[in-house]
Symmetry: C2
Subunit: 228 residues, 2 copies
């Protein structure tokens, strides 16, 4: 593991590698929101000293995944229900823009690929293969935002997705939610394939807004004692 890191080190710096690794550890759920991150623990795990680890943590702090309390250390950030709702609103705006731009710019080949995503998800839904659906769904969304050719948009959107994983009551979606959500995918792709920007915009915004509704209605009212 350490040797592997050293091999790659030639092209990418150690702090950047650590940043990716730590991010993966957080997003995979091994470190949960609110958890304290001990520098030495990370350093030992990856066989480095604390210097590069601190740099990596500082990078993750700027991207919003962790936060620092000056003389106490770094903690995995915790998203309240309100913050999650706020993020969904921003995400809806960005995804709407993505849909509009995609409808304006997509190639015939791109349309084919979009339809392939949808039919693959059709299969997963029919088979009730939730795990595969989630994977395809993420790839589908990523394809849409990257397909716009607007890298600022893609980066912002993908960063927001990561933030949402810090919300404790996430991924409660299953069963009916999967069906309802996927039904919207068809509408989105149809609008893009028709190269209708206004329709695509509306469909993409609506897709995120209904996802927000589903998540929020599924979330029990929890005391909000930490709004930052």
């Amino acid at each position: 593991m350490t040797l592997h890191a050293i091999q790659i080190l030639r092209t990418s710096s150690l702090p950047m590698l650590l940043e990716q690794e730590i991010e993966h550890v957080i997003l995979s759920g091994e470190f949960s929101p609110g958890d304290r991150i001990i520098e030495m623990e990370i350093a030992l795990r990856f066989g480095t000293s604390r210097g590069p680890v601190r740099e990596a943590l500082r990078g993750l702090e700027s991207s919003g995944l962790i936060e620092q309390v000056p003389k106490r250390g770094f903690f995995v950030r915790r998203l309240s229900a309100k913050q999650a709702a706020d993020v969904y609103d921003v995400r809806a705006a960005l995804f709407g823009l993505a849909g509009k731009l995609l409808a304006e710019r997509i190639t015939d080949d791109g349309i084919t690929k979009l339809k392939n995503f949808v039919s693959d998800m059709d299969t997963a839904v029919a088979a009730d293969d939730f795990s595969r659906y989630v994977t395809l769904n993420f790839a589908f969304h990523e394809f849409i935002v990257r397909g716009t050719g607007n890298t600022a948009l893609a980066q912002q959107y993908l960063a927001l997705i990561k933030h949402l994983r810090l919300y404790r009551a996430r991924s409660l979606m299953f069963g009916d939610s999967m069906h309802a959500s996927h039904a919207e995918h068809h509408i989105m792709v149809d609008a893009v394939a028709a190269r209708d920007p206004a329709k695509a915009y509306a469909a993409h915004v609506h897709h995120v807004e209904t996802a927000k509704q589903r998540l929020m209605s599924a979330t029990p009212i929890i005391s909000e004692h930490q709004e930052k």
Copy 2:
């Protein structure tokens, strides 16, 4: 200078202070896009060692103001015309959302403050006081995005504004641009004051789109040999 930093150090960590200071140095134009940042130079300037400086630079990298080439160092990021245009598109989407949310949630007191901003700008425009107009304009935009109560939105928007200062052909706006731009402010505030979300959304999006048009049409076609 150093002593001052040490005084404040009790509440905020040194790397965070350095991050703010370096960001200020960049945004004030002392360091220009493309410039190389030498760690030791920063360290000497603020009387610290290189460790905290490296952490600060790593933070600025994640927020997009600088970029790192592995064994060569950090450089102030340079925005191409296309990248600037992309950022404007994202900014328009976010600002549109801000206008909509503000129209839905603003208090009577908030409306009063908005109108005060506009009348202050009226005065600045009438006096052709461009410098004051720019200051007020920024405060006005910040008031709008913060007034939504959506911190994710405010942070993303303000980060984008910073990015735009990395575009070389920026701030060419003067004379007619100031008048045209300010005329749109009236429309925006009227829509918000009428608590009409749809109208406010449209006015805010339009405001950023016309700003993009002005900037792009004022920009000579430059060779784009660096698209990342």
